[in-house]
Amino acid sequence: MAIVVFPGSNCEQDVLQAFACLGVRAEYVWHHATDLGGFDVVVLPGGFSYGDYLRTGAIAAFSPVMEAVRRFAAAGGLVIGICNGFQILCEAGLLPGALRWNAGLKFICRPVTVRVETTDSPFTSAAVAGQALEIPINHFQGNYHCSPALLDQLDAEDRIAFRYADNPNGSVSDIAGVLSAGRNVLGMMPHPERAVDPAVGGTDGRVVLDSMLTSLWSLRAGVR
């Protein structure tokens, strides 16, 4: 499992720690890396890559590692972008749409309730359809935007992974997370790694991490 570190990332340790909670070892990969061979999962963690300057994720999207992520995803590898990672995936064109300033023009750090909209993905397979999860958000630019045509397409292809129960940021159609066409790339604004420990933030985020691990094992066992 690889956690990509960009200059300005700040949730990489949290992701590492969260997976460690589940007994999974992850390692950091530097943004200069050009090869992701040998990894099963790539995580683009939250933070402020390049200070969010210009646009969130815009500069990081051109890091050498993103070419490798593109190849990794094209080969079917699991890629999850959390918060800033989601923003980077959009800027890099690995996910459609864009993330804009929250409608309230304020940074928001608080737990929100999201609904699992599809269980047909390696990131949500352990959930029950419609399950409500309480997971913290922590962003200024989480307002998901896409064209009406694209929204229809995402809906038709069942690629909306999560919706907010009570839209905090103005996202189109309450979208909190979207899947790639191949369903192996997920971007989500809420931070599942902040909800794996009952002492800090509850455990609802485990559903996402557990799903990924389960999918991986079945992938490895060739049961797909």
């Binding site: 390049y50 200070g51 300057y53 210009l54 500069i59 051109f62």
Partner: protein
Amino acid sequence: MELVRFAVAVDVMPKDGISDPQGQTIERALPSLGFADVHDVRVGKRIELAVEAPDAETAEAIVRAACVRFLANPVIEEFQVHVLERAGGPA
């Protein structure tokens, strides 16, 4: 007095001598994208708006006043106002 609608653009830039970390970071990123010949990047805001006024001079004066009070931060920013055109008919 008949009011006309003017389109106005305001360019708000960081003052000279005030550091612009955003511009510097973009500048550092450009060479690796193949844009080695770009320098001195500064990032500011552009605000476009419509204002109703009897004439272009008044339109400009109104927007300048809004800049001083509100649209720009005189401590760290400087601004320029451009009255672009009569936008559409009377308001």
